[in-house]
């Protein structure tokens, strides 16, 4: 009797909790996804509907004019190209350099190993806001100011520490015995790394690459400071600057640009979600 009551109590409690949970979940989804929904809506609205606010939550006559405006009157295509060049170069460079450093720091008994590991962790935490002024100075002295190449030089300073930190975690988890037996069979140290351990760390490399690509694609402050010319800019700088100069905002095209400019990272995220989340955990939690 007492037990049945307890079970019944528990069932009622669970019922109440799940109702509360569903209400909260709906609220969370509305609050967090509404801006994204609003970006989508506005991007396909004709200007007349935007400025009269006739039916805010509906599109009466869907249009692609906002995108046409974007392609015809701005450097949008150029910015996409610039962002791709910067993000892809940074990704390849940072993943290679970071993976090599991580392996060396995990496997080999180097003098100053722990100091180097700590240094990489500390540089990973440094925000751009601390370094952008001297960085502008250095880039100017290198003669790279207002050149897309400046970003390819600077972004690895954020991304190499990240890739190294992430890959160190992966290499630590790979057991030594396979490498040792390869060594016994006559493999060099390099072969043991390249042919035995590296393939086992594939998941880590994918995480590092995806994350590096996303962060380089979205980076704002360095790009704002180092590359002022409109044709040389990347998406995160070009779009807000060009389409909101003065007090005239072209909302439809701005939302269209935000939508298209976000698409590459959203697609990468959608296709590699698992790797993305493990990169996040490694980046933010283990380090």
């Amino acid at each position: 009797m007492a037990i049945t009551n307890l079970q019944q109590d528990r069932r009622v409690q669970h019922g109440i909790w799940s109702i509360i949970a569903y209400i909260l979940l709906a609220l969370v989804l509305i609050l967090w996804l509404f801006p994204v929904f609003w970006m989508l809506m506005t991007a396909f609205k004709p200007n007349a509907e935007i400025t009269t606010n006739a039916a805010p939550l509906a599109i009466l006559e869907p249009t692609l004019d906002n995108f046409t405006y974007l392609f015809e009157t701005t450097y949008f295509v150029k910015w996409i190209g610039n962002s791709l060049i910067v993000a892809v170069s940074t990704t390849i460079f940072s993943v290679v350099v970071g993976t090599l450093a991580a392996y060396s720091l995990v496997r080999y008994n180097l003098v100053g190993k722990s100091v180097m590991g700590m240094g990489i962790f500390v540089t990973y935490l440094l925000p751009q806001t601390l370094l952008f002024i001297p960085m502008a100075f250095v880039i100017q002295n290198l003669g790279l100011y207002d050149n897309l190449f400046a970003l390819i030089v600077v972004y690895p300073t954020m991304m190499v520490p990240f890739c190294t930190w992430l890959m160190m975690g992966y290499f630590r988890a790979i057991p030594l015995d396979m490498e040792e037996s390869a060594r016994v069979d006559g493999a060099t140290h390099w072969q043991a790394f390249y042919k035995v351990t590296l393939p086992l760390a594939k998941a880590g490399i994918i995480s590092a690459a995806i994350f590096t690509f996303t962060l380089s694609w979205s980076e704002y402050l360095y790009a704002l400071v180092l590359v002022p010319s409109v044709e040389a800019q990347t998406i995160p700088i070009g779009v807000p600057n060009a389409l909101s100069s003065g007090d005239v905002f072209v909302w439809g095209s701005l939302m269209g640009a935000a939508l298209l400019g976000s698409l590459p990272v959203v697609l990468v995220y959608a296709f590699f979600m698992r790797y993305f989340v493990s990169g996040m955990m490694a980046g933010a939690v283990k380090g």
């Binding site: 799940s18 180097m116 300073t157």
Partner: protein
């Protein structure tokens, strides 16, 4: 014809052999733990020394000079003058420093709390769960300067849908980015962007909470809150601590959200260290002064780094 071919072959094979010798010697020389190890770590180390350590030291030097953009090489040592000048400025003390503290102390705990609630909600079984889990991280995945444009549009005073809904609901329109509200709007946007990060990280941590312990506690009569505070929280504590420290650094070093939404205005009401450093150094060309502003981050950053290193070491 035949002969010349034979001669060519011979030359090639000699070349080949010389190459092989060189390569194999190189390979042998590098087949040493120390040599290979240092060679592998060298590119990363070189990069960090030249483009992180050197700029950092340079920024300390610059902060003691009156360097300006127009005369980049001719800055003169002026001691602590930049720091005194800054500290004497009301905008710096009452807006920049205060806003940075308010912004961080206000936004981080809310992001953590809401992120925890989100994680717990997403951890329960419900239809389309994996889709929803994927969607919830989108605000964090979007390039920030682009998602800020949506908020600029939502906060627009006359055409915005937010004010449209308020007015149709019988309320007054709000000046979202007006002098009184701007700092709170900007904080709200930071919370919008940062909460999904906590949610996903904490959700991953929740997978590691031992289910059998939770069930055993439930049978023993522990209620939801007792189970949460006595089992769940202690298990995921390391993740909470480290992700919160990380978020503190990212939040007080914030620049992008504020810059796109308000440029520090109206009337300097949303200026933070990051935006003010940018304005003084790049827009007003005071490199020395800007460097000094940026360095106000340093004490807090150093404190967090030390704490984090200590915490990581303790937990290893």
């Amino acid at each position: 014809m035949q002969e010349s071919n034979a001669a060519l072959d011979m030359i090639n094979s000699v070349k080949q052999k010389r190459n092989d010798n060189f390569l194999s010697r190189l390979r042998a020389w590098f087949d040493d733990e120390k040599r290979l190890g240092y060679a592998m770590v060298a590119p990363a180390l070189l990069l960090l020394i030249l483009l992180v350590a050197y700029p950092f030291i340079l920024s300390i030097w610059l902060s003691f000079t009156n360097t300006e953009i127009a005369r980049a090489d001719t800055g003169v040592f002026i001691g602590l003058e930049n720091y005194f000048k800054l500290w004497g400025r009301t905008v710096f003390r009452e807006k920049v420093i205060w806003n940075t503290i308010l912004y961080t102390a206000g936004a981080v705990p809310i992001k953590l709390g809401l992120g925890m609630i989100m994680a717990l909600l997403l951890n329960r079984p419900f239809p389309l769960r994996s889709l929803v889990r994927g969607l919830i991280l989108i605000p964090w995945v979007l390039p920030t300067s682009l998602s800020m444009l949506v908020f600029l549009w939502l906060f627009e005073p006359t055409l915005s849908v937010l004010n449209y809904m308020l007015e149709n609901g019988g309320f007054e329109a709000v000046q979202w980015l007006g002098p009184k509200n701007a700092i709170y709007s900007v904080m709200a946007v930071n919370i919008w962007r940062g909460t999904p990060f906590f949610a996903v990280v904490l959700l991953a941590a929740l997978q590691g909470v031992p289910q059998d312990q939770l069930e055993a506690a439930e049978i023993d009569g522990a209620n939801v809150f007792q189970r949460f505070f006595n089992i769940t929280i202690p298990t995921i504590m390391p993740v909470i601590v480290v992700s919160t420290l990380f978020s503190i650094v990212r939040t007080f070093a914030e620049m992008e959200i504020v810059w796109v939404l308000t440029k520090g205005g109206p009337f300097n009401s949303t200026h933070m260290i990051g935006t003010y450093a940018y304005q003084q150094a790049i827009q007003n060309s005071g490199i020395g002064e800007g460097a000094a502003i940026s360095l106000f981050f340093f004490p807090i950053l150093a404190l967090i780094v030390f704490f984090q290193l200590w915490y990581l070491q303790r937990n290893d």
